[in-house]
Symmetry: C2
Subunit: 346 residues, 2 copies
């Protein structure tokens, strides 16, 4: 038969090692993986041979046999966004320490692509999934990963009926902080630049804003809340509308940096002086927040923590396989600078 496959690239298969050590392949495997009982001498011989030959086991073959790939699929709507990039890094670090690799997929905000990504990942037999969903339905999600056995932890944007857990931000706390601070400055006409309502964070922040406004007795005509996509342009557009209102807001809460930057840009256009003519605070504290003009008052948090926590929960699910739903909330805190009207620092 002598089939001619492309010649091996890197030397030394397990069989080679076994031969060189004068034992069977199964023994070599046992020695290298520390499995089963085994005489010390044999083990030493195998290990020596493996090192001498520069043996590197093939994860492919191993995975095919064991049905474990030590690979985790990571799906985000946009890797280039600072938030997801940081989350990715956090997850990467934690997973790598645990011996897992990450296979990345960018859904580009598209549900169809996200499903495609999930299917691909499942085909690759990933051991687990970390996903910041772009908004697939639970049914579709189940259909794509349901029976694969790969546990899934959602990041930031959650499908409550699917997966084994989720990590989200303390959205409500953050909004409370923002609204209360603005109320402290005496603002009653507070507008909200809300994110997409199909996403957990968008929804939670929106709801929390409403609740906080209610609780602190702010006025809240519905024309003051504007729903936008998470983009600077959308923020710019909606802010223009807000500023053109007959009775414009005296303060704006932006649900994300992008939205905040859009608002800032709109103010520039109009020649509005911040914070005197309009106060602005954002959920998300970008690393350049102190360098903007005016320096931004914002709710900050560590985005890499959501990736890290997610990875930790996932590892738990992949290893222990407990039954309870795994949840984590990443804490947030208020960073007071000048855009809110405080004389403050920086």
């Amino acid at each position: 038969m002598s089939e001619q496959i492309t010649p091996r690239r890197r030397g030394a298969t397990l069989a080679d090692v076994a031969a060189s050590a004068g034992v069977s392949a199964s023994t070599a495997s046992r020695a290298l993986n520390g499995r089963g009982e085994l005489s010390a001498a044999t083990r030493a011989a195998v290990i020596e041979a493996a090192e001498r030959l520069g043996f590197r086991p093939s994860p492919l073959a191993r995975s095919l046999r064991t049905r474990q790939t030590y690979t985790v699929g990571f799906v985000v709507p946009d890797v280039a966004s600072p938030f997801y990039a940081a989350a990715l890094k956090g997850a990467q670090g934690a997973l790598e320490s645990a011996g897992y690799r990450v296979m990345l997929m960018d859904s580009e905000q598209s549900v169809a692509r996200e499903l495609e990504a999930l299917r691909t990942l499942v085909d690759h037999q990933v051991d687990g999934l970390l996903v910041a969903t772009a908004g697939v339905s639970e049914a579709a999600f189940e259909e794509a990963v349901g029976d694969s056995g790969a546990p899934c932890v959602f990041l930031d944007s959650v499908l409550t009926g699917a997966g084994v857990g989720a990590v989200t931000l303390e959205n409500a706390t953050g909004m409370d902080l923002l609204v209360e601070h603005l109320r402290g400055h005496g603002h009653a006409q507070i507008a909200l630049l809300a994110g997409p309502q199909r996403e957990t964070s968008g929804r939670e922040r929106h709801a929390a804003f409403l609740a906080a406004a209610e609780r602190t007795g702010a006025e809240r005509p519905s024309e003051l809340v504007r729903v936008c996509e998470w983009s600077k342009d959308a923020g710019l557009e909606r802010s223009r509308e807000l500023l053109a209102l007959e009775r414009p807001p005296t303060a704006v809460v932006a649900s994300s940096v992008e939205l905040g930057l859009g608002c800032l840009a709109a103010c520039r256009e109009r020649g509005l002086a911040l914070p005197d003519e309009l106060a602005l605070v954002t959920f998300d504290d970008p690393y350049f927040g102190a360098l903007l003009e005016p320096a931004l008052t914002a709710v900050g948090y560590d985005p890499s923590e959501v990736g890290r926590e997610g990875a930790l929960l996932l590892l738990e699910a992949m290893q222990g396989g407990g039954s309870a739903r795994l949840e984590a909330r990443i804490p947030v805190s208020l960073v007071v600078r000048r855009s809110c009207g405080c004389a403050g620092v920086s």
Copy 2:
């Protein structure tokens, strides 16, 4: 033998499809992959069976057999950095369109980790590599990937003696633009915040700065160029030194955004008014550049293009396998705002 492996998760192997269609496995394989001659009827039957059973081929098994994984390794010093995140996205997009997956590794700026990452990737038999090196030696690189057969394209930071190609920015052009513009404003005492000299971009920008200063007749006492790591903190530190000089610069060129932000922070500390008391321009135009105070004059480019171009070159190398070294330069352009001293826009 009846060995009891974990039960299959997702249904239908190729064998199942073949059985269901009443043909042999090899025929089924041929039908599904469109390989070889084959009667239309048979092909249709197989395809029908495959669909009916929801057959999904196992990339693992396929790769083991064909020695092709359709996976590309992507190695960066820091995924969370906007530049690399964007490059990653660019590469992702191009590779995915071509049917490739990306396996991501973050070297965390460490040479040891980078080597480990490369080895892992090679073990996984990636078909190609996209790497922004943290500074491994060519010898070490060769030892890790050399004989794996996986072509490597370097991004931004290049090992000239290794890999099949590289994509870099038009560093020299960018520096020329910056220095010339500053000279146009009459500055003669121009300082440079240079990046690490072990990296291509750091070196090229440094050299280009020197050349441009020379050519345009600027003074250039060596105390005016400071080498730093690519971080805001390093930029801050070195800028403090610069500003404390007996004869401080009247203008600063920062080799990257981070460095520029550091300088901005240093100016804030000192209460220096930009651009009147000091002009500042940077290589890298961040998306929030217009919102800083003062709005930043900078050299801009599309970072995702370096990923995209890199992916394109790599695809070429993986498929065609031509011999010539593949090179690409991503164009840059000057964005004039106010920090240089122009009355300008924004």
